[in-house]
C-alpha cells in the first residue's frame, strides 16, 4: 500500500516520495505487461479471451438505440434506395458536377475549390458573378445536364460552408466546413494522378447517413481506375464527416501502406432539404439544432 503523500507536510519531501511512487508504479505496470505478453505468446487463447472481455467503453459502444439505423440486409431500405434520386447514377450515369462560390470569393476559398477540382473528376469550376441568384444558377445547371452543384460559402474570406445540390430534383445538403488542409500543406504528401479514385464510405449507418453517403458517391465516376491506387474516404464519426484522399500500396497480404494526397477537411451536416435549394419554402428533411446534441450517445448519420 502506497503512502498517502497528501499527509506529508514538507513539500519537497512530498514531491520526492510522489515521484518515487510514480516511478515504481510505472515499472510494475511495464513488468506486468511484459509478463502478460510472454504468457500470451505461449498461449494465444489467453490473449483472445482478454481481448474479448476487455472491451473499452466508448461513445460508439454506448450509442443509444436508434430505429433509423439501417440493418445490413434491409430489403425495404434497399428497395427504397433503388428508386431514390440517386438511383440513376447507380445504374450507370456519369456524373457531371459544377462548383462555384459565393460572389467575390477570397483567395482561400478559391484555392479550396481548386483542390476540390483535383479530387472530383468531371468537376468544373465557374467563377461566381453577382448577377444571378443561386436558384437561377440551379436552373441553368439543370438545363446543361449537370448532375450536381457544389457551392462553397465563405465568411470573413474563409470557406465555412458547403452546399451540395443534387440535380435535377434534389436533395440539397448544407454542411459546415472546417479544418481544411490543402494537399501541399500536408507533410510528405503524394501527387494526385488523373485516375478515377475509388471511394470508401465508412460508418454511414442511419437512413439519413445513407442518403448523405449516396450523395457523396454520386459525385464520383462509378467505375474507379484501380491502377491509380487512389482512395477517397468519407469517414463518418459522431456526425463529423472526415474527408481524406490517399494513395495506397499493398505491401503484403496483411499490410497496406498509405500516403496522403490531400486535401483534408471535415464536414458536418447542417440541414438536408428535399428537392432543390429553396431557403424560403423548402421542405427540410433534417435540420441541426443545438439541443439535438444534448446527448453524446446519440448520432444522426
Amino acid at each position: 500500500m502506497a503512502l498517502a503523500t497528501s499527509d506529508i507536510k514538507n513539500k519537497a519531501k512530498r514531491e520526492q516520495i510522489l515521484a518515487k511512487q510514480r516511478l515504481e508504479k510505472g515499472k510494475a505496470q511495464r513488468q506486468r505487461r511484459k509478463e502478460l505478453k510472454k504468457e500470451e505468446a505461449a498461449n494465444p487463447e489467453l490473449r483472445e479471451a482478454r481481448l474479448r472481455e476487455n472491451v473499452p467503453a466508448t461513445q460508439e459502444n454506448a450509442r443509444e438505440f436508434d430505429e433509423a439505423v439501417v440493418a445490413a440486409a434491409d430489403e425495404e431500405v434497399a428497395q427504397e434506395e433503388g428508386d431514390d434520386e440517386f438511383a440513376q447514377y447507380f445504374s450507370g450515369q456519369t456524373p457531371k458536377v459544377l462548383v462555384t462560390t459565393t460572389p467575390n470569393a477570397g483567395r482561400k476559398t478559391v484555392s479550396f475549390v481548386k483542390e476540390l477540382v483535383s479530387v472530383i473528376p468531371n468537376l468544373e469550376y465557374i467563377k461566381r458573378g453577382k448577377k444571378f441568384e443561386l436558384q437561377q444558377i440551379i436552373q441553368f445547371c439543370r438545363g446543361r445536364d449537370y448532375t450536381d452543384l457544389i457551392v462553397v460559402t465563405e465568411d470573413h474570406k474563409e470557406p465555412t460552408h458547403l452546399t451540395l445540390v443534387h440535380l435535377p430534383e434534389g436533395p440539397t445538403a448544407h454542411f459546415r466546413l472546417t479544418r481544411i488542409k490543402g494537399g501541399k500543406e500536408i507533410l510528405g504528401h503524394a501527387r494526385a494522378t488523373s485516375h478515377y479514385p475509388e471511394l470508401i464510405l465508412n460508418r454511414f449507418s442511419t437512413r439519413l447517413g445513407h442518403t448523405i453517403g449516396r450523395m457523396f458517391a454520386a459525385l464520383f465516376p462509378q467505375v474507379p481506375e484501380f491502377q491509380g491506387r487512389q482512395a477517397v474516404t468519407f469517414h463518418n464519426q459522431r456526425d463529423y464527416i472526415f474527408f481524406r484522399r490517399h494513395r495506397y500500396v499493398f505491401k503484403n497480404s496483411k499490410r497496406v501502406d498509405l500516403q496522403e494526397i490531400g486535401p483534408r477537411f471535415t464536414l458536418k451536416l447542417r440541414w438536408l432539404q428535399r428537392g432543390l435549394y429553396d431557403p424560403a419554402n423548402g421542405e427540410y428533411e433534417w435540420m441541426y439544432k443545438a439541443d439535438l446534441e444534448t446527448s453524446r450517445r446519440r448520432v444522426f448519420l
Binding site: R33, L36, K37, R50, L51, N54, P56, A57, T58, Q59, E60, N61, A62, V69, V70, A71, A72, V77, E81, F90, E133, L134, Q135, T178, L199, I200, L201, N202, R203, S205, G209, G213, R214, A217, F220, Q222, V223, F226, Q227, G228, A231, T233, H235, Q237, R238, D239, Y240, R244, H246, Y248, V249, F250, S253, K254, R255, V256, L258, T266, P279, A290
Partner: protein
C-alpha cells in the same frame, strides 16, 4: 351645401387633421393628395373636382372626384384600374381626364411613373434572396471544435482505411486480375486462400478452381487470358463483387457498431490494457471467417453474363472476354 371656398377657409385657418407643418412649408397627409403639398389648388378636400393616382396591393388606380357626387361621400371617388402596361395606362389617363386641368393630368402621369418604378423595384427585391445575418455562437463553435478533434482521434482514420482496403482486396472486390496489387502480393493472397481451402474439406469444385488458378499463372508469372466458368454456388457471390466494383453498393456502408474503438474520451474507461491493442487492428482483419469462407479457393470470374449462359449450355460469349484482356495489357510491372 359643399362650398370649396368655405372648406378651405376652415382647413387653412382653423384646423386640418391631415396638415403637417414643417419649416419648408405645409404638407398634407391625406391619401388622395396628388403631390403631398398643402395649398388651395392641391387640397383633395377643398376641391370638388380632383383626380389622383393611387397604388393598392400592387395595382394602380386612377381616382377621380367630381362635384356631381359631392352629396354622397361613400361613393365620392370613382376608381378606375389602370392597365399594367405603362403606355396604355398613360393613354387611359388621357382618356378619362380629357377636359381636366392640364397640371392635374401632368401630375397624375408623374405619379403613375413613380409608382410603376417602385413596383418594379419591389419585385426585384422580392426575387432576390434575403441575406440574413447569423450570429456566431462562440460556445457552440468551441464545443464543436473540440468534439471534432476527439471524433477524429476516435475514428483512427488511417487504420480504418487500411482495414477497408485490405478487406476489399481479400474479398476480391478488385477482380481476379487486380491492377492495383503487386503480383507477388496477389499470389500470396491466392495461396493463403488455397491453404485455407485445403485445411477445409475440399470438394471437387474447389479442386477445379485450384487447377484453374494454376493455369492462370503458368509461365513465369505471366497472366494468361483464360475464361473461368464458375458454378452456381459462386454466382451469388459474384454479384456482390460486381456491386463492389461498380461503386458504392448499400452493403459497403459499414454499419458495425461493435468495432474496437479506443480513443481519448472513452466513457468511463479506466486504465485498461487498451494501449497494447492499438497495433492489432490489421491482424484482426484477417480473422474474418465470413469473408474467407465466401470464396473457398482460387479465382472465379466476375463476368456475370458468362455465368448465366453456362446454365443453358456450353460456354459461349467471347465478347465479355475482351474487356479484361485489354486491361491486362495496361498492367505494368511493379
Amino acid at each position: 351645401m359643399n362650398n370649396d371656398g368655405i372648406v378651405w377657409e376652415v382647413l387653412n385657418n382653423q384646423f386640418c387633421s391631415f396638415k403637417v407643418k414643417t419649416d419648408l412649408g405645409n404638407l398634407c397627409r391625406h391619401q388622395y393628395n396628388l403631390t403631398g403639398r398643402c395649398n388651395r389648388k392641391e387640397c383633395p378636400l377643398a376641391n370638388s373636382k380632383y383626380a389622383t393616382v393611387r397604388e393598392l396591393r400592387g395595382r394602380i388606380y386612377l381616382c377621380m372626384k367630381t362635384a356631381e357626387r359631392a352629396h354622397t361621400p361613400a361613393a365620392q371617388w370613382e376608381r378606375i384600374e389602370l392597365p399594367k402596361n405603362f403606355a396604355q395606362a398613360v393613354e387611359e389617363i388621357d382618356k378619362h381626364l380629357l377636359y381636366w386641368p392640364n397640371w392635374m393630368i401632368h401630375t397624375c402621369k408623374q405619379r403613375l411613373t413613380k409608382i410603376t418604378q417602385y413596383l418594379i423595384r419591389m419585385r426585384k427585391f422580392k426575387l432576390k434572396n434575403k441575406h440574413t445575418l447569423v450570429p456566431i455562437k462562440k460556445k457552440l463553435e468551441r464545443r464543436e471544435k473540440s468534439r471534432e478533434v476527439r471524433a477524429e482521434a476516435a475514428a483512427r482514420l488511417d487504420q480504418s482505411i487500411e482495414k477497408e482496403l485490405l478487406e476489399r482486396l481479400r474479398s476480391k472486390a478488385y477482380g481476379d486480375q487486380p491492377l492495383n496489387v503487386n503480383e507477388s502480393v496477389w499470389k500470396e493472397i491466392l495461396q493463403g486462400d488455397a491453404i485455407e481451402a485445403e485445411s477445409d474439406v475440399t470438394t471437387e469444385d474447389e479442386l477445379e478452381d485450384e487447377e484453374e488458378y494454376e493455369q492462370e499463372y503458368d509461365a513465369d508469372g505471366n497472366r494468361v487470358a483464360t475464361e473461368f466458368v464458375s458454378d452456381d454456388s459462386d454466382a451469388d457471390d459474384s454479384e456482390d463483387d460486381m456491386e463492389d466494383m461498380m461503386g458504392m453498393p448499400a452493403s459497403e456502408f459499414s454499419t458495425d457498431e461493435d468495432e474496437d474503438e479506443d480513443d481519448d474520451d472513452d466513457i468511463g474507461e479506466g486504465e485498461s490494457e487498451g494501449d497494447e491493442d492499438e497495433g492489432d487492428d490489421s491482424d484482426d482483419s484477417d480473422a474474418r471467417p465470413a469473408a474467407k469462407s465466401k470464396r473457398p479457393a482460387g479465382p472465379t470470374t466476375r463476368q456475370k453474363p458468362a455465368k448465366r449462359t453456362k446454365k443453358h449450355g456450353p460456354r459461349v460469349e467471347i465478347e465479355y472476354e475482351t474487356e479484361p484482356a485489354s486491361k491486362d495489357t495496361m498492367l505494368t510491372n511493379w
